[in-house]
Amino acid sequence: MRALAEDGAGEAAAQAGRRRRAALWAHGWLALGVLVFALPIWITLVGSTHDAGTIGRGEVPLLPGSHAVENYATAWAEGGGRFRTTAAAAMLWNSALMALLIAAGKIAISLLSAYAVVFFSFPGRMAFFWMIFVTLMLPVEVRIIPTFQVMVDLSLINTMAGLVVPLVASATATLLFRQFFLTIPDEYVEAAKMDGAGPLRFFRDVVVPLSVTNIAALFVILFIYGWNQYLWPLLVVNDRSLETIVVGLSKMIGTGDAQNEWNTIMATAVLAMLPPVAVVVLMQRWFVRGLTETEK
């Protein structure tokens, strides 16, 4: 009996030890993961605080230098690189405007079309639904040339509308809202009818307020989606005043010569990352929810 009990105690101690070791390993691996994730960012951050010569000679130290203010000032106000690209301030403004318009546009037209499909019965309802659904299968990337030709025909090249409008149709957002609308109890609709609320009033007073969490979650995802657009702005915009920061950054690098003004480029890279990363970190809860919901 006693031997058994002692065995048990020994077992428990051994188990506690195993658990502690396992936790340590977990910390170790996670820290390594975080490090691998952070390394490129750290290098870029550090690089953005040294002068071009230090970087060009390949002597980037692991700690920040003293040229942060001038580098960011140059990037912000003048732009950099031998290709004399647009100032980051203007590019950030373009990116922000594009991302906000895409996110808001996608949410608005998806809310409306999901509302029509769920709360009305009309000829062609399912046909329209499938039409929206099928756009999932037609990403811009697979229809580059003909879409570009449409843009030319509509004289949307080099316009903000040209950047935004073709990207605002969204099957995922429509599907998400449809799914959510189907869970709104019938009694709300009936109560609204008894109260005398028409469909538009019900939409404004009940459906949209009930959807706020979904809207917030989607907004985070769509803002990042819009901000990170690359191929489309590359095609549609060649006017420097409309350059977005992601495309502009890659143009600054050109072929990647060592003689580039790397300090300014790195500062621009940091500026290009900052808004979407801030959105994800500050709105982490919405972001995670938005991701997992849209893919359901």
């Binding site: 109890p185 009694e187 109560a191 008894m194 109260d195 005398g196 609320a197 007073d205």
Partner: protein, 365 residues
């Protein structure tokens, strides 16, 4: 305040008929309860009155005006929903004020009416809260308040008490009755609960398979049920039914279980040997010996203190329930003599299930 009239209301969904012609008129200030098992069409009937469903045939008249083609909002009706349907993102005040705002009632007037109604319901302290911060009973009151504040011509209640626990239900039942009497608003109340129906209604509509089996006062429905369905549905424990045949030129029923029972109130029409169903409520059964006594083999005795409920079977195999005074405590397996008093018998035709009343003029009374 208004009168409500339903004329030949029919409804079918596709091939399935749900309502087969309902006629009903509700007087000004009256509370009519529609009661029936689930699937009998009672909710559909209420939704047709509300304007949420369109009848396949028939008309709905409010104050004599045909409102059948009108939208719900144009009928000046308020409805209390089973799950209350309170908008979760609005405060109690906003929930109650919503209908008034849509009708463009002036702000001061809205405030006055909401506050008055809240005081009436004892929810003045809750006006700033959201529905999810409220208990079931409080939500129920807010749902009522939303209906009352509109000052509609007609109240509709769709099983509003079914989500509450038993104690709260009794309390809210009394409150609804009190409010309805005080406000004097014509009301239609749907429930599946016979006690709710009996206590709330000025009159009942007992629905069965899309028809109104009986429309009468609660006491009338209890004392003179129109058919075996109503008889079995109202009253608890349910009425006993025994197979019988008409005997002695209509003056008596010969039970399949043996005894011949003479009617107290007069002969029933029909040929000798006509198949009958004789009904008797458990509380009317007496535990006494006598020449017409039935021997009940007790299967189960439920002593409830003030009374004892016996479940057993008769020699022919028919089962019978009796509610007896509390002192008696027979054991399962015992055989007990029971008397069925003549004045408590209900006689129904076995084919149609309809009540058979004594022939006119031949009644003794």
């Amino acid at each position: 305040m208004a009168t409500l009239e339903l004329v030949g209301i029919r409804k079918s969904f596709g091939a399935a008929g749900v309502l087969h012609g309902i006629d009903l008129s509700v007087a000004d200030g009256e509370m009519v309860v529609i009661v029936g098992a689930s699937g009998c069409g009672k909710s559909t009937l209420l939704r047709i009155v509300a304007g949420l469903e369109t009848p396949t045939a028939g008309r709905v008249l409010i104050d004599g005006r045909d409102v059948t083609p009108l939208e719900p909002a144009e009928r000046d009706i308020a409805m209390v929903f089973q799950n209350y349907a309170l908008y979760p993102h609005m405060s109690v005040f906003d929930n109650m004020a919503y209908g008034l705002r849509i009708r463009r009632v002036p702000r001061a007037e809205i405030r006055r009416r909401v506050e008055e109604t809240a005081a009436l319901l004892g929810i003045s302290a809750l006006l700033d809260r959201r529905p999810r911060q409220l208990s079931g009973g409080q939500r129920q009151r807010v749902a009522m308040g939303r209906a009352i504040v509109r000052e509609p011509r007609l109240f509709l209640f769709d099983e509003p008490l079914s989500n509450l626990d038993a104690k709260l239900r009794v309390q809210m039942r009394a409150e609804i009755r009190r409010l309805q009497k005080r406000l004097g608003v014509t009301s239609l109340f749907v429930t599946h609960d016979q006690i709710e129906a009996m206590t709330l209604g000025d009159r009942l509509v007992v629905m069965h398979e899309g028809r109104a089996a009986q429309i009468a006062t609660p006491m009338e429905v209890w004392a003179r049920p129109a058919d075996t369905f109503v008889a079995g549905f109202i009253g608890s424990p349910a009425m006993n039914f025994l197979a019988a045949r008409l005997a002695e030129e209509g003056r008596a029923a010969a039970l399949a279980a043996g005894p011949v029972l003479r009617f107290a109130d007069g002969p029933r029409p029909g040929a000798e040997g006509r198949r009958l169903v004789v009904g008797i409520r458990p509380e009317h059964v007496e535990a006494r010996a006598g020449p017409e006594a039935l021997p009940l083999a007790v299967d189960l005795a439920e002593p409830l203190g003030s009374e004892t409920v016996l479940h057993g079977h008769l020699p022919g195999g028919e089962s019978l329930t009796a509610r007896l005074p509390g002192g008696l405590a027979p054991q399962a397996g015992e055989v007990l003599p029971l008397l069925l008093p003549a004045e408590a018998l209900h006689v129904f035709d076995a084919e149609t299930g309809r009540r058979l009343d004594p022939l006119e003029g031949m009644a003794r009374r």
